[in-house]
């Protein structure tokens, strides 16, 4: 078995093990939200696409180019971390309530939780009363506390954050340094083992000694940039160890207005961001591809109609069309409250609807590109040859045209992603974004505006949203640049 598939199988096994652990320990009721199902479909689609690419030499070649770019590979590591969290957060279930005596039927809690919530454990359920700063052991606001000298106004101790410290002023820094160095040691050990294992495998593969191979990796002279892969992965290891060690003792990024852990909320927002960036494309792709190719292939009145449709749609300012649609949806949802069993389901439907609307407004660009490219491809000799053999239109489109415009589809998917993640924040600000109960960076930024006006300022929500969003978008941009460079025939030609 090849190496990537081995890694894939291993990670799949881990997830399966955890899932079955949850499933067998308690009889949970699985909940399949609409976006969950679409995410599973997306994973299947990407998986089958990857298998197809892996099998064919000429399809693999551009990806090989991508895999040689150090920055792109570092970005890929970061992206896959986000994706793992996002997928874990997409497996939802409702837990059973404690059985009363003599009760035979199972009752389930009304709250939908995800596998990620379970794994994050203390991060999610150690809420405080209200704001507290990162690593604080006292609340951000003063309260009246009973003390031996009578009631006084002071900053009360947090319920969970820094609870283990006897005297926070004295013990905090030693505790922080101890934890930070511990997480460094743990992650370094893990990292070194992994480095040794990979180096060993590579050394065997290239029939080399262990030390020369290690030296080659360290100097960055391997064809796949293992050095940047390992550096990025090392950083992620350290951060993970850091969160594991401090997660249940402190609020690493503070707490928000109602005392929720900001770090947990930022991690939960990853799913929303990813859903936005990927499902929108997934939804619009069939329309854009079908209509774009049809317009370019059949020409005549088909072309006229399709062009009319996309010119009309693209002439409506995007934000306004989304606002109009969401306003109508709000009225519709308000008038039909019986359609939704739980709040989560309602929020999820709104998220999905937002993706659909965004898809409708954004397919026109890809459609136009595909139409132009199909017009070009149709003039080539092999299409004429296929036509003269009496090949059906459907077969010509799927066998001869689609593979030849695939690079455009791929480039636009990866280029759109980061823009969509950014759009989510803006839409939430305008008031036509995701449901207020959905955790998203947009909602975090939105509420942070009021927090910024406080004195002293509550900056940590905004900072957390910024860091998480910036990392995702930057990684996506760097990766998509590499993909575009590898697939765009114009760019590759210019280089030669």
């Amino acid at each position: 078995m090849s190496k990537p598939s081995l890694i894939f199988a291993l990670s799949l096994l881990t997830v399966l093990a955890v899932t079955t652990g949850v499933a067998t320990s308690e009889h949970v009721k699985w909940v399949f939200l609409w976006t969950d199902i679409l995410i599973y479909v997306l994973i299947l689609a990407v998986g089958s696409f990857a298998i197809q690419v892996w099998r064919k030499e000429h399809l693999r070649a551009p990806w090989h180019h991508v895999s040689q770019r150090p920055l792109a590979m570092a970005a890929a590591v970061v992206l896959s971390m986000y994706m793992i969290i996002g997928v874990l957060d997409s497996i939802h279930f409702r837990e059973p309530l404690d059985n009363q005596a003599g009760q035979t039927e199972m009752h389930y809690s009304g709250e939908v939780v995800s596998l990620f919530d379970k794994l994050a454990g203390p991060l999610g359920n150690q809420g405080e009363k209200t704001y507290s700063a990162p690593f604080a052991s006292h609340l951000f606001t003063k309260e009246t506390i009973d003390s031996p000298q009578g009631p006084i106004r002071a900053y009360p101790r947090l319920q969970y954050g820094g609870h283990h410290l006897a005297d926070p002023d004295r013990d905090f820094w030693p505790d922080l340094i101890k934890g930070a160095s511990l997480s460094f040691i743990y992650s370094l050990m893990f990292w070194l083992v992994l480095l040794a294992a990979v180096t060993h495998l590579l050394a065997r593969h290239y029939a080399k000694g262990f030390v020369p191979m290690l030296r080659q990796i360290a100097s960055g002279k391997t064809s796949v940039p293992f050095r940047s892969l390992f550096l990025t992965f090392g950083l992620i290891c350290y951060l993970t160890a850091f969160i594991l060690i401090f997660g249940d003792k402190y609020h690493i990024l503070g707490t928000d207005k109602v005392g929720n852990d900001v770090l947990f909320f930022s991690l939960k927002s990853i799913r929303t961001g990813l859903v936005f960036g990927t499902l929108t494309t997934l939804i619009m792709l069939p329309f854009a591809v079908m209509l774009g190719i049809m317009a370019g292939y059949f020409r005549g009145w088909v072309d006229d109609v399709i062009q009319y449709v996309y010119t009309t749609l693209s002439s409506i300012p995007g934000v306004l069309l989304i606002a109009a649609a969401i306003l109508s949806l709000q009225v519709y949802m308000a008038n039909n409250p019986e359609m939704f069993e739980t709040v989560t389901e309602r929020a999820d439907l709104r998220l999905l609807f937002l993706c659909i609307i965004l898809g409708i407004t954004s397919w026109t660009g890809l459609c136009r590109l595909l139409r132009a490219e199909t017009l070009k491809v149709c003039r080539l000799d092999y299409i004429e040859a296929a036509l003269s053999f009496g090949t059906s239109h459907f077969k010509i489109i799927t066998r001869h045209i689609l593979p030849n415009v695939m690079h455009i589809i791929l480039i636009s998917i990866v280029l759109d992603f980061s823009g969509l993640v950014l759009a989510e924040a803006v839409l939430s600000y305008v008031g036509v974004g995701v449901d207020p109960i959905t955790t998203s960076w947009g909602n975090m930024i939105n509420s942070a505006r009021l927090e910024m006006a406080r004195d002293p300022m509550v900056w940590w929500s905004l900072a957390a949203a910024f860091i998480f969003m910036f990392t995702l978008v930057l990684a996506a941009n760097l990766f998509s640049d590499a993909v575009r460079d590898a697939f765009d025939p114009r760019i590759t030609r210019a280089k030669q």
Partner: protein, 330 residues
């Protein structure tokens, strides 16, 4: 040329009609006027009489497409579709939910919108082209490489952070200009618009510079540039006299199309900085669920976009003598 412009304008009519049908469907067919009324009057415990009163006072108490009640005429004109959608074609926007005239509001708010949109547009364009030229001059060196990475980093930051960061640093920490506000006096206007303009320009540097750099690099790889170099022209002359001028054609496509849209203002900048322009007008309308205003702005935006497309085509013929419009092109 004249015939072409007329044809393009006529071609815009079916598109605007399509836009109208879409917004009409969203606002009146998906949700009945009854639902809208209920939404505005509070969800529950609303009497049908109140709903009818709200509808008649806002002009929604008519059939959607076909009115069979009048004896003579008005079968098609005394309907919601005609009164609320077709009237937009003569830029008669009607009244907002609070009774104000939308057309009057729009005319009032265009100037503040333009006061920040035009400086952002012009300064941003010049700055981005200059930066892109510098990067193209140093192409395939470390200047190019770092410049590109910097652009990607700038692109990866949400506009919201630029605004919040700018307000925090410049207004709150350094106290240089007020955080937000607007003034109609020229003398005090500058201190209000300078921060939104700076933020708007910085927010656009990343994507803008990258985009113009691609255009310049594509132009540089063409044959005539090689010929110019072969004649022994210094790189400075190649870039500024030949590449820049020829690159203006593709630059124009992206630029002219957005000029009419400047009238729409910027949604986010305006509402953050409290500028009473069309962008904040739209946001407020969305917030208060004033469908009449949102519908008018959708129509206005589409009309301006189509105007932009027409202007783009016309400007093409002016800069590029190779492009001929009308019958001889096809």
């Amino acid at each position: 040329m004249f015939a072409y412009i007329i044809r393009r304008i006529l071609y815009a009519i079916p598109i605007l009609l399509g836009v109208n049908v879409i917004t009409f469907t969203l606002f009146f067919v998906v949700n009945k006027p009854d639902d809208m009324a209920r939404m505005h009057l509070g969800m529950k415990h609303v009497q049908q009489a109140d709903i009818d009163k709200w509808k008649s006072s806002h002009g929604y108490d008519k059939p959607l497409f076909y009115n069979s009640s009048p004896v003579t005429g008005g079968h098609l004109t005394d309907t919601i579709f005609f009164k609320k959608s077709i009237r937009l074609f003569v830029f008669d926007f009607g009244n907002a939910d609070d009774g104000r005239n939308i057309g009057h509001d729009i005319r009032q708010r265009v100037l503040p919108s333009l006061a920040i949109a035009i400086p952002i547009f012009i300064i941003g364009l010049l700055l981005n082209i200059t930066l892109a030229l510098i990067i193209a001059f140093f192409r395939a060196t470390y200047v190019d490489y770092t410049g590109m990475i910097l652009c990607v980093v700038l692109m990866s930051i949400s506009t919201l952070f630029y605004i919040i960061g700018g307000q925090y640093l410049i207004s709150k920490v350094w106290h240089l200009v007020p955080i937000s506000g607007f003034s109609t006096h020229i003398s005090t206007l500058s201190k209000f618009i300078i921060l939104p303009v700076v933020v708007g320009v910085i927010g656009g540097i990343g994507s803008g510079t990258r985009w113009y750099r691609t255009i310049f690099l594509e132009e540089i790889s063409k044959d005539y540039v090689r010929t110019v170099r072969a004649k022994g022209m210094p790189e400075r002359v190649v870039l500024f006299r030949h590449v820049l001028r020829n690159a203006l054609v593709p630059i124009l496509t992206g630029v002219v199309v957005v000029i009419p849209l400047l009238f729409m203002g910027s949604l986010i900048l305006e509402s953050f900085f409290g500028i009473p322009g069309l962008g904040s007008y739209t946001i407020d309308a969305i917030g208060s669920q004033d469908f009449a205003i949102v519908r008018s702005m959708v129509f206005l935006g589409s009309a301006l976009y189509i105007l932009g497309l027409i202007l783009t085509d016309i400007s093409y013929t002016m800069v590029d003598p190779r492009i001929r419009l009308g019958a001889e092109a096809s």
